[in-house]
């Protein structure tokens, strides 16, 4: 009887441990195709706003805008306005011409030396 109780307790502990470990698991939320629309000479500022939302930085009356991105196993995600740079933070910089057409862009590895 004592042996049976111990067995049952061990089994329950195993089930609880498994449940806890499942609860801690995370799935990637990044989008691998998030930046596929970005093409110099083609993409407009409006498209960037519609796809990526509010930028983290704007300069020269929206001629230059920046976004803070993170990358997980699923792809890119916009991290929004936060103080500091964390994880594998990347800064996406867009430069537009007077008509709002993208002329340059770069992915700056802020956390890379």
């Amino acid at each position: 009887m004592i042996q049976f109780s111990k067995y049952r307790i061990s089994r329950w502990l195993l089930v609880v441990a498994l449940l806890l470990s499942f609860g801690c698991a995370t799935s990637p939320i990044g989008q691998s195709d998030l930046l596929d629309f970005v093409k110099d000479g083609v993409t407009t500022r409006e498209e960037v706003f519609l796809k990526l939302g509010e930028p983290s930085g704007t300069y020269e009356s929206l001629r230059i805008i920046t976004y803070r991105l993170l990358k997980d196993e699923g792809g890119w995600l916009v991290s929004g306005q936060i103080r500091g740079w964390y994880g594998n933070a990347v800064n996406l910089v867009f430069v537009f011409d007077d008509r709002g057409l993208l002329i340059h862009h770069s992915l700056v590895q802020v956390r890379a030396p």
């Binding site: 001629r63 230059i64 340059h104 590895q109 802020v110």
Partner: protein, 154 residues
């Protein structure tokens, strides 16, 4: 007998030092602090030329600055790292810990003229001790307090 007294005295002295909060200890280099950028060195980046480099070019290479002043007329980039040195252990009645960790602060400051072209660039590097609340306002709220080492003049 004499050695026993010496050991007791040493232990007592060490305990008192810990309790009074002034025991120096070596701390190893821990690299860049969490939240700090890494794409900044001790030198002015080669691509930056006064009177030529534009705001857009700076942003495309370095990314958005950690602080802007003068309505975008000045960019400030900062990097914080722990490169080792001497810190302090303090007792404090059970709320002790390590304090005064030396933090190396690298700063790149850029000024732009009305055409968005770099008009001045300075780099600075100094070591500050992190006693907690003293570091944050110094880093983020008072750019004027930064002392710069060199002025770039190409």
């Amino acid at each position: 007998m004499k050695s026993s007294v010496r050991i007791r005295s040493a232990v007592l002295a060490s305990t008192l030092l810990v309790l009074t909060g002034c025991v120096p200890i070596p701390v190893p280099p821990m690299g860049d602090r969490a939240g700090s950028r890494r794409n900044l060195s001790d030198q002015v980046p080669e691509f930056i030329v006064i009177g030529k480099t534009t705001r857009a070019e700076v942003l495309l290479v370095l990314g958005e600055p950690d602080q802007t002043t003068d309505n975008g007329g000045q960019f400030i980039y900062r990097r914080l790292s722990e490169e080792g040195g001497i810190a302090f252990i303090y007792g404090g009645g059970g709320r002790g810990g390590v304090t005064g960790v030396p933090v190396t602060l690298r700063v790149l400051s850029l000024n732009f003229n009305e055409n968005g072209v770099v008009s001045n660039v300075r780099v600075g590097k100094r070591v500050e001790r992190d006693f907690g609340p003293n570091l944050t306002p110094m880093l983020y709220d008072d750019p004027a307090s930064t002392e710069y080492d060199t002025t770039h003049a190409k």
